[in-house]
């Protein structure tokens, strides 16, 4: 973590909470949690509402689909922490880690629906080029995604476009697989609130 305040500048009460989480999960608190718990009034608390609604609010996409979108956007943004964190949640949600790995390594051949594939293609262009055109949206609609599903995918993209930048700029520490599995279990059970 590049700023010491994000690592160790939390209030006494928050430090107690971190010690508690560490004892229960047997894993150190990850940097994503440290970020949103630092001066939560400024960013963490209001942003958690956005992320929870995007990832767990009502949607025609499953939780696994949205976690895969999060991991996929993170891959385009080259954010190792978020790829691994949300790849792990997607794998758990689907009950199929190989599907997630396939989608992240080769979108065109992965065993996912055409509407999800077309949505991920559009998100990839948006994140790479910072914009998309009406023709890109028509392609997603033609593949079977509804307008509401596209809006839901854009909500996921907004959440992770923001988070990826912060994770990369502040250089989140990337734990081993056990750390991400513990995090995935928590995020699947509790969401982002």
């Amino acid at each position: 973590m590049r700023l010491a305040i994000l690592d160790k500048g939390h209030t006494f009460g928050t430090k107690i909470l971190f010690a508690f989480i560490g004892a229960i999960s047997r894993q150190p608190v990850v940097d994503a949690v440290k970020l949103v718990m630092y001066r939560p009034d400024f960013y963490g608390a209001p942003m958690k509402k956005v992320v929870h609604e995007a990832m767990r609010g009502p949607s025609a996409w499953s939780v696994g689909d949205r976690e895969l979108m999060a991991a996929f956007v993170s891959k385009v943004n080259e954010c190792e922490f978020c790829i691994k964190a949300h790849g792990a949640v997607a794998g758990r949600a689907y009950g199929d880690g190989t599907k997630v790995a396939a989608a992240l390594s080769d979108l065109e051949t992965a065993p996912i629906t055409d509407s999800l594939r077309a949505t991920l293609r559009m998100l990839r262009k948006l994140v790479r080029e910072n914009t998309v055109g009406a023709e890109d949206m028509r392609a997603v609609l033609a593949a079977g995604a509804s307008r509401e599903q596209i809006e839901d995918a854009l909500a996921v993209c907004f959440a992770f476009d923001t988070t990826n930048r912060l994770a990369n700029a502040f250089q989140f520490f990337v734990p081993g697989p056990a750390g991400f599995e513990a995090g995935a279990k928590f995020l699947l059970a509790r969401g982002y609130q």
Binding site: F42, V50, A60, L126, R138, R147, F158, R165
Partner: protein, 102 residues
């Protein structure tokens, strides 16, 4: 459908209009990725366009220019939310154009 409209506006209003250790003008400049002096302009540009290229030196340069860690935190948050917002708005405009009249 998931509805992030109000929650997203609340984030933007808080970081740009609420209390902070940086001025509202500095936070707006970071959000817009425009109008900030060096070395902040380089840091903000990197966060917006290729955040994986941010280095320890970029952060150190911002600190050496007189900013506290809290101020760097606020500037980076505003830069990240600003770029994500521009992408989101561009995508919505494209979606509106694609579904116009349907």
């Amino acid at each position: 459908m998931a509805n992030i409209r109000q929650a997203r506006q609340a984030v933007i209003a808080r970081i740009l209009e609420g209390e902070g250790t940086t001025s509202r003008a500095e936070r707006r400049g970071a959000f817009d990725a425009a109008g900030l002096p060096e070395p902040l302009s380089t840091l903000v540009e990197k966060v917006a366009k290729h955040a994986h290229d941010v280095t320890d030196d970029d952060i150190a340069a911002a600190r050496a220019s007189g900013l506290s860690e809290d101020q760097v935190f606020e500037i980076v948050v505003c830069a990240a939310v600003g770029q994500a917002t521009r992408q989101y708005d561009a995508a919505f405009a494209a979606l509106d154009a694609a579904t116009k009249g349907s």
